[in-house]
Each structure stands twice: as C-alpha cells, then as structure tokens.
Symmetry: D2
C-alpha cells in the first residue's frame, strides 16, 4: 500500500490495482497537465494538476465503494476507472480538447486505446481487468459507471473542492463526505437517499457559483481561446499531428509554441500575460443560431476572413463561442417520499439556474488593443451580430486581477 | 490598542471607543450567550458566543470603513454600533427573543436604554457619542446604519462564516473580504459595485443553504421551542419578570429552569437531550392563516387547551410556528450598467429561493414519544390542520445527528 | 449508527456501545463544561466543550483500532473508554481539579464509581463490559490503556488540534492522521513505527508551543487561580460539599458564585473581566522548594496570613504555584533500527524542552491593582521569595489581549 | 490598484511600483518555475510557483511596512525588492542553483544585471528607484534589507505557510501575522519586540520540522540530484550555456532534457518517476571533511571516476552532498528585558536544533536498482567513506509516498 499526502483529502491510501497503476507513464504524465489550464493567469495559485485530481477522485471512489458495500471485482474496476479517468487529457486539459480530439476521433475511443496499450494495459490484464470495460466505466456506462461519470459522480466532488482550495475562491466548498454517505443504488440508478434534495442543490449551486468566477472567468476564456488558436496554427504550420498534440503535456506544448515561428508571437503574449482584448462581447440573443452552433472548423474560417478583411495577422483574431449551457446535475436523482425523482423535477432552483446560465453566456471576439474597434465592426458584420445592446467594443481590465466584472454587461 | 486573536478573522485590532467599550459589563456579558442557542444540540461544536461575533462584526465594519474612506466621528459611531449591536440579546439569543421582548416593549427601545445607562453610556459620552444615535445605527437607520443592519450588513457577513467555522457546515463560507471591497455608497444607498450581481447572489445562497441545515434544523427547532415554553412557565410560575429574564445570560436561565419545580422537567430533558417528538409536522398549505399568523399569546393558549384535552402536563405540548419566510437580501442593491438595481429585480434566483423557503416551512407540534398519536390528533383538530398529506404523526431521529432528513416530507 | 458533524474531524460515526453511551446524562453533561475553562478570557473563540472533545477522542481511537487491527471486545472496551475518559471532570475542567478531587479522594476512584452507576453503568453491563476495567483503561492501565492515556494517546492528538482550531493559535496543528497510522504494539508497548522520531518530536513541540501561548497564558492563569480561590470560599462558607462541587457544570458553579455573598465579588470580577493583578511573578530559582512543593491547603493558609497582614479581604490574595514541569511525551517510544527506544533517549530536543519549561515556570501572587505593592512585599517575606531579580511588582496588561508578553521577564 | 486572489493570503492589493512590475516578463516568468522543484514527486499537490510566492512576500512586506510606519521612497524600494526578490531564480529554483550560478558568477551580480535591464529596469527608473539599491535590499544589505533577506524576513514567513498549504504538511503553519506585528527596528537592527522569544522559536521550529519532511525529503533529494546531474550533462554535451540555462523556466529545461540524447534517459526516468536508488547513505561522521566540503566540480569528477570503475553510464552515478547545516534563525534578535539579544543566546533550543540537524545530515550516492551493491562498494572506496555503521547499501521505497522513513538510520 502506498500512502500519499494530499492537500485536500490529507492521507490517501492507494492499494491493489490502483497502486500498480500509480507509476505507469500514462498516469505520471498527468503531473505535467494543469487541472485548470489557463485559469492560473487569473488565480495565480491555481497550479494543481490532473495527477493530484486523479488521486482525489480515486480516494472518493474508494470511500463511496466502502459506503455502498461494493467489493471484489466491481470495486477493482471502479477504482481503476476513477484513477484513470483523465488519462486521455491532452495538454492544458479541456482548453484545447475540441482541437486535440476533433481531428482524431472520439475521446472515448482514444481512452479505450490508451487503456489497452503500454504499461496500463499490462497492469489491467495482470489484475484480470478488461481495458474496454474500464473505458466504459470512464464514459459513465453501466450501473457503476454513474459513480465515475454521471450527475452525482466523484469527479465533480473532487474538483469543486480542489479548485476552491487552490484558487482561494470559497464557492466550491461542498460537503463531499456527506454526499458520498448519502449515495444509494436503487433499481440500478445512483441516487441520493431520502432527505437530500438540498444536498443535491448544494452541488448544483457550487458549480453555478464557480462557473463565472473561475471556470469561465473572462481572462481565463481569452487566454484559453488564444491557446487554442495558437495550437491550431501549430497543427497547420508544422508536421505536428493532432494525435501527437494530444499526447503532449503542458511543457511540450508551451515550448513548441515558443519555438515555432508561426506561434511564437502567441507564446510571447502568453508568457508575458499580454493578452488580446475584447472586440465583441455579445449576449446569446444578439448572436445568430448558426454561429452559436458553429463547429471549430467554421469558426476558424471566420477568423481568417475577418483577419483578412481587417488586414491583421491571422492569429490576431480569435473567436470564442462557448457551448450552449447545460445543467447536467438537473437529472441528479434523489429519493423523495420513497420514490426516485430527478432534481429538476423536485427543485425550483434547477430551471432558474438554467436561465441564469443562459443570461451569462457571451460570445467573445478578441484582438489586439489597437484594433478592437475595427476588428469589432468587421466581425459584427461577418458574424451577423446585432450591433446594438450586447456589443461591447472595448473593456479594459488589469492583468492578474481576479475580479468578475463583466457578467452583468 | 488591544489585539485579539479570533479563530475566524485572526488578529483583530480594537481601538478608540471600541477599546473602551470592550471591558464594559454589557459587552462582557455576551461571552455568556451562545451565538446559536440550542443549535449545539445538533452541531456539538457550535458553542461560539455573541461576544466573539460582536468582535467579528466590529472588525468587518472597520474594514468596510477603511475601504469606503469613512473616518472621524462617523467612523467612531459606526464601530461603536457594530461592537454593541447585540447587547440587547437575552439568554439563548434569538431563541426566546419573542418572549423576552414581548412583555416589555420593543427591542429597539431596550437597546436605546442599555446604551444610555451604566458604563456603556459613560464611555459613549466620554467619546462624545450620542447613545440614541448609536441605537439608531444598530436599528439600521440613516445612510450608515445600512452597514450595521441592512441587506448588505457586516453582521451577516460575520455570522455566516463564523457559524460555518464552528458547526463544520461549509455552506456559509462566503467571500466576505470581496463583499466588503465592493461596497459603495451611491446617493445614500449602500450598494455593491458594478459586476457583483453574483457576489450578492452568493450571500443569498449561503443563507438559503445554512437555513435548513443549521438555523432551522428540526432538532434545533424542537429544543428552541421547548426552551421558549419552559421560559414562559418560569415567568408564569415565579416572580421573575420579562425584564429580568432578558438580562439573564445562558447560565442564569439554565440554572433557574433547573431549580424551579415547574420547569425542572424541561431542564432535565434539555440537559440529557431527551427531546420531545413531533406530533404534527405540517406544510403551510395545510395550516389556516389564522394559525400561521397567530402571536405567541394565542399559541400559548392553544398549547394549554390541547394539553388539557389530551390530559397531559402543560409543558408536554409545544407548538412551533415559524415566521412567514422573508428574503431580506432580495432588496440588496447592485450596480448594473451604471444604475442601482435591487437584487430581486436583477436575479431570477431571488424569486425561486422565496418559493423554496415557503415549501420548506413547517408547523410543528411536539410532545413526548408516548403521546404523539393522541396529541397529534387533538392538535390537528384544535389548529384546524388538514390531516391529509403534510401531517406526520411520528418521526424518529437520533440524538445528536446532524442530518437534514425532513425537508422533503 | 449516529453520524455527528464535528468542526475538527468532519463526520464522526458513532456505533455500538458508543452510540448507546452518547445520550447518557453523564456524557451529555460534558456539553456544559468548557474544554479550556478560563482560557476564553484570553481567546474569545475558545468555547469548545469536553463533549465535542470526547467525540473527537472516540473518533481517533476508532481510527487507531482500525489501523492496529483491533476488533471485538477489546475494541468495544477501548471506544467506551475513549468516549467516557472525561466524565469525571468537574466544572471548568482542570481549573479547579485540585480542589474538587482533593477533598474527596482520587480522581480514578471517582471515575470508577461514575462508570458503575446510573445509565452509563447500565449501558456498559448491557454490552457486557466491566465498568472497573473501562476505568482502568481510562487510567492508562494495561496494554491498550496506553491508547487512551499515555505518551502517545489519542486524547492529546485531539485536544492539540481542537484547541488550535478554536483559539486560532496555529501551533497545535499536528498531523494526527500520520501519528495514528504509525502506531504499533511491540511486546505490549505502544510505539511509533520505524522512521518516526520526528513525528514524535512534532507532538512534543506542539505542546511546548501551546503551553505558554494558550494553556498557561498569564491571563488564563490569573483567572483560573481566582476561580479556584472563589470555589474554595464557596466550600468553606456554604454547605456545598466537594462531592457536590465536582458534579456541577460550568453554569451551576458560575451561578452559585454569583449568588453566594462570600464569592459574589469574585463572580462580578470574572463576569466583567476585572481581573486581579500580579503582586509577585517569580522564577523557580527565587522560590524556596517548600513553596514550590506546597499543597493547596498550605497555600490557602498562606493566602489568609498574607491577606490578614496586608489588611485586605481574604479573596484579594491569590497564590498560584504551577506544578513542576513534567514532559510526559519524553517517554514516548519509537522504533529505531528495529529496537524500541524512548524519545528522551533518542531526541536531544527532550532535555532542552525540559530546561525551557523550567525557565518558563513562574510563581504568581495576585491582588487588586491598588494593593500590588504592599501585598507583594508582604507575600515575598511570607513565602521567603528572593526579592531581587525575578520579582515583578506590577505588570499592566489589557483585557482580552492574547499576547504572550511575560515569558522572558 | 490590482487585486489578486491568493490561496494563502486571500486578497492581495498590488499598488504603485509593484503594480507596474507585475506584468514585466521577468516577473511573469516566475509563473513557470515551481516553488519547490522536485518536491512534487513526494507531495503531488506541491505545484505552487515562485510567482505566487513573490506576491505573498510582497504582501507581507507591505503589512510589515504598515506596522513599522515606513512610507514613501523607503517603502517603494522595499515593496519592489520583495516582489522582485526571486527574479534571478533559474528553472526548478534552488534545485540546480549551484549549477546555473557556478559557471556564471555570483547570484547577486546576476540579480543586479536583471534589475538594470529590460522592462524591470524601465519601471524602476520611471519610479525613480535605483536598480542597484534594490538588488542590495534583495541581498539583505542595509537596515531595511533585513526585512527581505535576514533572519526575520518576510520571505521565510511566506514560504513556510505556503509550502504547508500546498503540501498538506501542517508543520509550517506559523503565525505570520503575529510575527509581523512584533517586528521593530532598534538601533538599525530588526528585532522582535519584548516577550517574543517563543515567537522567534516557533519560526525556527517550523523550519526544523519542515526540513526533513518536505525540503530534504529523500525522494526530493534523489530527484533533485538527478536533475542537477542531467543539467550538467546538458551543459557539457550541447551548446547550451550556463547563462542560457539560468534564464530557462521549468518547461524549457524539461523539454530540453527530453530532446537531448545525452539526457533523455534522465528525462524518461523523471517523467515516469523511475528514480535512482541509494547506493550509499552515510552520516557526517563517516564522511571525510574533504568530501563534505567538496565543490560541485570535484563531485562531478568523482561521479565520472566511480561510473568508469563500475562500468556504468555516467548519468547512473549521482553523488549528493548537502551543505553543512546552518541555522540562520539562531541570530534572530529579540528584545529581552529592554535589551536586544540573539535568539541563540537566549533560547536553549537553538543549539539543540543545530545538533539535530547535524545528526540528520546524510551523504547520498544513487544509482540504478541493479547496481546499488557494486556502485556502493566502489563509491565508498573512492570517497573514503567508513563502510561500517552509517552505510546503507539499499533501501526500497515506493513512488509518491510522503513518508519520512529514513532519518533515524
């Protein structure tokens, strides 16, 4: 048994197949991928990695199995899945996910492949565990998969608390121990036991508060969009493939961007926190549906067109279109008076938070400070954005400032 | 300058009039009044006092004054008001407030009187501060009074964090430093600066989550209702007056209840945590408006009638009717696009939380375990409660258990 | 199973005999006894009770049993002993211990009696546990008794962390989880496993730092000495017996002192924090051995003599002689190169800390501010104290100030 | 004013020259240098950077200036020095410091040069601050330099608390606020005010406990020694110069090691945590003085000789000789009875801790698992190490385990 000291869960005992997986290259690689990517440009302390998060998710899964009385093979599979659930992540985690996995097929297929091969595959087979089955659990398949990837999964319970600890933003501080103690399986569904509507709501609210303050903070969004744009250029202008890109870690990508002529401007900007500025900041109502739902390839074309028309370098125009708000926790199931109900059915908060999220949605177009006016005008025309209310041509905000000043515009 | 070490705010510097007030009997008395009264029967660590809370409120007021650039006489008045804002509290704080102040006039008049007299009055006059003006600030009067008692007051900012620290329930962990930094006065109104709709919401949500988990936890409610009933008996059966009662501290009241024949049964029950059980637990819809709005005197009569009809001792029937839900924070003001708006106007959450609170409202009738059925039936009839859904004749729950099992019934 | 939320250990599961003991009057009484007695006059947040500490000690014992693989009857006995270890405490805990138990025999006999009788005795017998055996464990007897009361006991592991949490003083923050994980039984001795000399030292150092800052802070010592003196007066001037005194809780004692003419002055001073001042503050070298080792009865006589000669009321002279420093942790056992060694043998720190403690030792004589000079002179003569260096006739210090200004005098 | 949210100090206000320095490349670069280098291989959460530490040191300097009443030009210089104090750090901070600055002159000269040039130099001159003077403060020169680099400096106060927060090891949790409040200047010397011998001791003890548990944890030492050896190889086998090396950040160095044939084995080992094992682990008594005091060049020669004789690749032999223990805090000055004394003079702990540190000192020779015996024998002969007690030829220990198992051997 290995015992690891964690800043969030204190001592974590790693046993059995998990211990054997711990020193595989695929898992150790996660030490070099930041949990929150570019968020550290907003919150300087947010340098925690996917590795410590994976340990935390393993730990909570282990606690949950203990409470649910799950043992033996099922437990082995689940702890393996919990520990491995992020091995598919590319550099900067979700930041360039759309990119690394767009060119090369589904994330799930990639994880399956990773689990079959190399030392991870060896360890799984030595412990008589089927890599494909583990990949299924990671994708939330089957009854027990809900624990790893679902509305009440241990992934979320770890990251909310961990991100709060490392950013210093208190909103994510949920009562994970209570959540785990109240989990039950009822007819194959993972539910919170009687009397926990509010417990489920607390999880929902924690994420609702962490979202704009941390995960989609404007500065994090701008830098993430810049990173994605630069990585696209890297793929286009060098012989680096998407398949190679997604096996890089944060170091590899940053150094590659620094050393590639087509991306070195970006790298310098990122390194010196000299970020692009907003040319457009538009509410959902002001944006045509075709743009809201456009894929990355289409947006990339638009970036080129706008840059071309504005006569600025291609990398100086970055379009950032967040996904339509989802609220996965709304289908969390809770026992109410002896029957299973979805949280969305039971709690008036769910619908309200969905509305709030839609109101917070913003499309951003970013460019250099000197060009916000011109690029903003051209981009509004190209994207078909209503240039009335909801269009902001310039907002100044200081460097590392962690304020959330922009959500009510 | 005195420096005091606080478990929540670390070092607190106490200066000027505040330092002189620190050792007055009226303030030192607050060391002997628990902040959360009977909540320690649910959360055993919740033994913090009104004294440390008063220091915390003083500290936050001082920080706010610093940020708002308020100095001199106005600052002296406000820090005095912050430190003194709870001197009027009787034993067990809000638990028997309705009782201590029902018989003897308004809380505000009482505070005014307390500030005029004794060492507090002397200190205020020595520092050229008008006791009546300070009492006004404590009541939230005037522009600056909003800081001490209002929708965005420092009282709330302290108690949410402090109660979270001492109970172990994380929900109250707001970002008080950010709240204070964003306060502004605009046309005499205290508002949160531009970009803080979500900051205001976080305050609202913290209270919405702390309410059922801590403040109105069923066990806290039962014990509080028992304490109030016993104190009523103390007033009726001894020559103790309400004016004397409200100057007692927790020690005085508990010992008085132990030594008075009419209340010693209660005292034994309280001391051994042998609490009454629910005979009725009814939703608002099932309760006639006349009962929801009944005053304490009317409820006291009903308790006697029901006890009489059920042939049980008077103290064995306790009716507990919470106030109609309010949501004071809904009128918090926030700057949005350069104009002052109320949070209720701006945030869809406010209306939703109001609805949630109404759904959580429950009338309780408590009696001894053996009599819940009989007392329940008689009480339902007397109170005109619909005996269908919403009426629960018995719920078992263990002693010190801090679970919130009852809010979805 | 009951689950209790604790501000230090989060959720505590209480099972088996421990759950049955939880609601006994003897245990519930500990809710009304502060863990640190008068220390709250220095650290206003230090209002935690023996009840939550007892739960914490139970929790750590349970963790230790789990790690040591102890089950069944032995485990039942140990968890009962851990939960019950403080039931013998009188009001204000150790503050007047010398007094409550001086008149009425040994603490151990008292605990044995308490465990035999009432609901506790019933519960123990129902679970087939011998009260005398449990009392033996509480006294540290037998192999397993070392876990409850010994150099490496869970009592200390809880109180250091808990006192740090509630006072805000960080020094007690030990790594209790690591300590518990490293415990082993070797030939019937409780030891820390190989490689833990430093772990053992950290426990020693935590206490060495908490001692002067918290436990023997001058203001805590003065108020404790006053409390003891007043309680003595209560015993002498009323028909309250020592046996009754030690069954009181904090409320009973404070109210009794308020209502007894001979002690009401003390009560008023305590309530308003109007504490006596130092007339003498003397190092060990300056004090005759006969005084250092005098028992309470002898000191009481001396207080009367000095008061008489100085012509002041008897309660205005208080002599405070701490016990000679001990360093119980110095006999902690640690595995070193495969053999059991005592920490004192292995660590050069132990001897040094013993010397430091002796240098910090101070005899105090306290009286009212106006009389420090006269009482100081007379007391120095009566006690045979060298009136040169080491004698301080007056030190002023403010009310609730948590500073440690006096240890280098 | 920029406000930055920090996980340790909460909100940090950055003003004046500090705000202007914040976005300079030299400072932003520190985002990419881990505070504790390879310690993250032991404590997976220890990923904090020199950037957030620099902000923390700036913050504490600002607090100290406030308490000491220092304003104007002196304050500007000091806050600039505090923020800039680590700009000279190379990749992995202190881990390869001996290397980066051995070849290229003194660290101090390097810092001076860095402050004169580029944006930092521009900002300093714009604010009328002399770069050389600031560099002097960073080196601890002059009266005020003691605040930035001295026995009681704010650097230490930040890193102890920050490292504790991020590793999860509680020992570093000092009371930094108290330390800062007690600082005084007496005759040009920075001292702790009367009554703070113990406060000074607490700082010393925190470091004494953090040292073996965190800073010199065996796994951190092995990986650091490997990193240094690999970096040496990089300098020898490529055209990278020491001057270039010390301007790299962590990303640059890791990627360079991965892509250089002579170091890629190391890089693979580091990335997969496949660390070398101990061939020798020797106490100071067993090691000739000439080896204890040998410089890096001499040790490098010895590594080659041993590798050659053992017929293994050069990078498979790593010698790790820690500096002789120092105890800088021992000269901390504290007011005692009105005069300034050094802590070493006043506290018996200082001498003891020095002895303890010497006993903890170990020379390590590391090689691959298969060769520990052979390399151990040859190295013992070459280094003249007494092969009796104190020589350990093999110790196994697991990957990420944060245990301190080796300090009593």
């Amino acid at each position: 048994m290995a015992t690891i000291k964690d800043s969030v869960h204190d001592h974590i005992d790693v046993m059995g197949v998990a211990e054997a997986l711990l020193d595989t290259p695929a898992l150790q690689r996660l030490r070099h991928i930041k949990q929150l990517g570019t968020v550290q440009l907003v919150y300087p302390s947010a340098n925690h990695t996917r590795f410590e998060h994976s340990l935390g998710v393993y730990h909570l899964a282990d606690r949950a199995l203990d409470h649910l009385g799950i043992e033996g093979k099922h437990a082995d599979r689940l702890t393996a899945a919990a520990l491995l659930h992020d091995v598919g992540h590319g550099p900067f985690s979700h930041n360039i996910e759309s990119l690394t996995h767009r060119y090369t097929g589904k994330y799930h297929d990639d994880v399956t492949e990773l689990l079959r091969q190399g030392e991870v595959g060896d360890v799984l087979r030595e412990h008589d565990l089927d890599p494909d089955y583990i990949a299924g659990l990671i994708a939330g398949e089957g009854t027990y998969g809900q624990l790893v990837s679902g509305e009440l999964d241990v992934d979320r319970m770890d990251y909310l608390v961990r991100d709060a600890h490392h950013t210093g933003v208190p909103y994510g501080t949920i009562d994970s121990e209570r959540l785990i103690r109240e989990l039950r399986f009822v007819d194959g569904e993972l539910v919170l036991d009687e009397g926990n509507v509010q417990t489920a709501e607390s999880l929902l609210l924690a994420r609702a508060l962490m979202n704009p303050t941390v995960y989609t903070h404007p500065v994090a969004r701008i830098s993430k969009a810049m990173l994605r744009r630069a990585s696209e250029r890297l793929l286009e202008s060098t012989d680096t493939t998407a398949a190679q890109l997604r096996r890089m870690d944060d170091h590899d990508l940053l150094v590659a961007l620094r050393h590639t002529p087509e991306t070195e401007t970006f790298a310098r900007r990122y390194d010196t926190r000299d970020l692009l500025k907003r040319a457009i900041w538009a509410e959902m109502d002001a944006v045509p549906d075709s743009i809201v739902d456009a894929d990355r390839a289409r947006l990339s074309e638009l970036e080129e067109t706008i840059a071309d028309r504005a006569d600025v370098p291609e990398t100086d125009v970055v379009i950032d279109v967040p996904a339509r708000p989802s609220m996965r926790e709304s289908t969390s199931r809770v026992m109410v008076n002896g029957e299973v109900r979805s949280l969305g059915e039971q709690s008036p908060l769910v619908q309200t938070l969905r509305i709030a999220q839609e109101r917070q949605w913003r499309l951003g177009v970013y460019t250099t400070a000197a060009q916000t006016d011109r690029v903003g005008r051209i981009a509004a025309a190209e994207l078909g954005i209503d240039s009335g209310e909801g269009l902001i041509s310039e907002i100044t905000h200081h460097g590392v400032q962690a304020r959330v000043d922009e959500f009510d515009g």
